[in-house]
């Protein structure tokens, strides 16, 4: 025993489609043609919506937001691997995933124009709102998973998204620990987009991979090419199946890249080179998936042009709905402090409305 080996651990990496769209057939997930096309369409919608939102921000028509261009596969493909019974717990850079979960694009725009109303839409279901406090949502995911387990909902699991930066937070560690102790049905997906604002992942952590952090909890952990929609789909599907079968949580490190600025207030030229960005454009998840669809005979040039036009029109229609809405009730914050009214708060509401009227109504004090 004196100096003896106690345990050993491996970390693996998964890729199904390589950078040039070449497929490893042995790993190809089982998707119908319609599903493949839908997945591509969803990623394209996210891309076009994202680029449009940057323009709107530049024109002062919405506020600050964090673009997700380049990361579409990492959140959209998992959403396709989920059912409506699964919970989607995002951070703030999962536009593809949210759209795939049924969030209308105009909601994203309302949200980013400073209206809580953006978080509410008819098919809300099991999708949580945007979570800005980095890493904190991972704990909610674990609690949700516990609830699903306790309620005997064996067809439900939880998928939680977060960034490489989030792995530094105590909440992330506590979430993985609780999840593994409880063997809770959660899939943790870390979108390692190489940067947390200006901090490269190599200064965020000293570990070679983020996937290996799972070893601290004896939890399955895997590194996945996050720009490969098929690999992301496959890894999420496997992890969800394990979770629902009682096999506990999984950590997926999705290796991807933020091609745009951190948020529209950020200037990435301060901290990274154009060459690096260009290199990652070569690994664009959309380009790769389009090559695959082409090779499979599912989408030719003409089909792609038609799809693109359709998606662009959808984006424009969403922007029109976004611009049209005006019914933001000024005293809504008083409605949603508590579910039960209290005289003190109602008194404050009166003061607020009186002051507002004296100022000339809501328009006078519009944000």
């Amino acid at each position: 025993m004196p100096l003896s080996d106690l345990a050993s651990f491996q970390v693996q990496r998964l890729q199904v489609l390589d950078q040039d769209g070449k497929l490893d057939q042995s790993l190809e997930p089982d998707l119908t043609r319609a599903q493949k096309l839908a997945l591509y369409r969803a990623m394209l919608l996210a891309r076009e919506g994202d680029q449009k939102a940057i323009k709107l921000q530049r024109q002062g028509r919405i506020g600050t937001f964090g673009p997700s261009t380049g990361q579409e596969a990492a959140s959209t493909a998992p959403a396709f691997a989920m059912t409506e019974r699964d919970w989607f717990v995002g951070a703030f850079r999962e536009l593809g995933g949210w759209l795939a979960r049924g969030m209308p694009l105009e909601n994203f725009l309302w949200f980013h124009n400073g209206w809580e109303e953006g978080s509410v839409f008819p098919s809300l279901g099991r999708t949580l709102p945007v979570n800005i406090i980095v890493g904190s949502q991972t704990l909610h995911a674990v609690g949700l998973a516990y609830a699903m387990k306790l309620r005997g909902e064996q067809d439900s699991a939880v998928v939680a998204f977060f960034g490489d930066g989030a792995t530094s937070q105590g909440d992330f560690h506590e979430a993985l620990n609780f999840a593994s102790v409880w063997q809770a049905p959660v899939v943790f997906i870390c979108q390692n987009n190489q940067w947390a604002i200006s901090l490269p992942v190599g200064k965020q952590t000293h570990s070679r991979t983020l996937a290996q952090k799972a070893i601290a909890y004896d939890m399955p952990g895997i590194q996945v090419d996050g720009n490969d929609a098929l690999a992301m789909f496959r890894a999420t599907q496997e992890a969800l199946a394990r979770a629902k079968a009682g096999g506990g949580p999984t950590l997926i490190e999705a290796v991807t890249y933020r091609l745009m600025m951190h948020t529209t207030s950020d200037d990435p030229t301060k901290y990274r080179t154009e060459a690096e960005v260009q290199e990652w454009w070569q690994r664009d998840p959309l380009k790769r998936f389009r090559l695959y669809l082409g090779a499979q005979g599912l989408l030719d040039e003409a089909g792609h042009a038609a799809l693109e036009a359709e998606v662009k029109a959808e984006v424009e229609a969403a922007v029109a709905r976004f611009e049209a809405r005006r019914d933001f009730k000024p005293d809504a914050p008083f409605d949603h402090v508590f579910g039960t009214p209290h005289p003190e708060l109602e008194g404050q509401r009166k003061t607020f409305l009186r002051e507002l009227a004296q100022a000339g109504g809501p328009e006078a004090r519009h944000g």
Partner: protein, 327 residues
């Protein structure tokens, strides 16, 4: 009807609410097998099993963060922090999420959870085991803060807190845990949150307080009343958020004088808000400055000095007399 101390009364509420509603779960450090360091959760594990009575790993942020997730997932978690001084680790989750999810989702998501913990001094405990810092919770919009003062109201308020649709921070004055017993009816009774109670009627002065300070305050009031033939009215706030300013204002509007007693440090403590409410709505009725009997703005001393630092009946009595004498 049985005579119970506060620990037993809270335990009764937990038993009955878990029995009544299968979505209520209890979680925290040592709440299961050990039955809580103060034995508040006695018998729960045996009765309801490991799935609903959860001995968690040692991480306060996680206890509250996962409770939020449980609540979003249809459960009603009742989480315990082992001591007040460790509860601050959960503030980011409380402020950032529990208090906000209703607003963030415009009422689509709610967080019906209770965070209960022993608070305040007086049990000769180690550092961080004796704090009174109510405003760290009460100042956060979207959190309810409830503080019982005896076995019966502890049970009735906890029942309401568990049934409430929103997050409730339930602070249990640990000095009262075993201080005295009261008749507590077997049948569940509930007291409304956000309402104060006049526990002693009077006309000469209003004494406002809550939790562990209530009893020494009452003692002081009775002593002074006996000595001087006065009649002091005593208001037990029971909730600090939302605060029932009306009951306090109505009382002081009649008596014209007030003393507020708090255990927490003086500056920016709860008493300041009571005084501000009186200033807003009863200034012209005030015949004397509202006196604050309070902890000091010092780091909570270790227990060797705590008796000297926590307000006692003698300090309250002096404040009462001083305020009564003020011309």
């Amino acid at each position: 009807m049985a005579k119970l101390n506060m620990v037993q009364a809270i335990n009764l509420a937990l038993h009955q609410e878990m029995e009544r509603d299968g979505t209520v779960v209890v979680l925290g450090e040592d709440v299961g097998l050990d039955e809580g360091v103060f034995r508040v959760t006695a018998g729960l594990l045996t009765r309801f099993g490991e799935a609903r009575v959860i001995d968690t790993p040692l991480a306060e942020a996680a206890i509250v963060g996962t409770s939020i997730g449980m609540a979003l997932g249809g459960l009603r978690p009742v989480a315990e922090m082992q001591f007040d001084g460790f509860s601050y680790l959960s503030i980011p989750q409380l402020e950032g999420h529990a208090s906000r999810l209703r607003a963030r989702s415009q009422g689509q998501r709610t967080v019906p959870m209770v965070l209960r913990f022993p608070y305040g001094g007086g049990v000769r405990a180690l550092e961080h085991h004796s704090e009174a810092r109510e405003v760290l919770y009460a100042h956060v919009p979207g959190l309810k803060v409830v503080i019982p003062s005896g076995p019966r109201n502890a049970r009735a308020l906890l029942v309401s807190a568990i049934r409430d649709p929103d997050p409730v921070v339930f602070m249990e004055p640990k000095a009262l845990y075993r201080a005295f017993k009261e008749e507590v009816p077997e049948q569940a009774e509930a007291l409304p949150l956000g309402q104060a109670q006049v526990v002693k009627e009077g006309r000469d002065l209003t004494l406002v307080t809550w939790g562990a300070m209530l009893h020494r305050s009452l003692q002081a009031a009775e002593e002074v009343d006996r000595r001087r033939g006065t009649r002091t009215e005593v208001v037990d706030l029971l909730s600090l958020a939302p605060l029932d300013g009306e009951t306090v204002v109505n009382s002081v509007s009649r008596t014209g004088r007030a003393v507020v007693v708090q255990e927490s440090p003086q500056s920016y403590g709860p008493a300041a808000e009571i005084i501000a409410r009186l200033n807003d709505r009863a200034l012209d009725r005030l015949e004397a400055p509202v006196a604050r009997v309070s902890g000091f703005d010092v780091v909570t001393p270790y227990f060797g000095r705590e008796k000297a630092y926590i307000p006692d009946a003698a300090r309250v009595a002096r404040a009462l007399e001083h305020t009564l004498d003020y011309r």
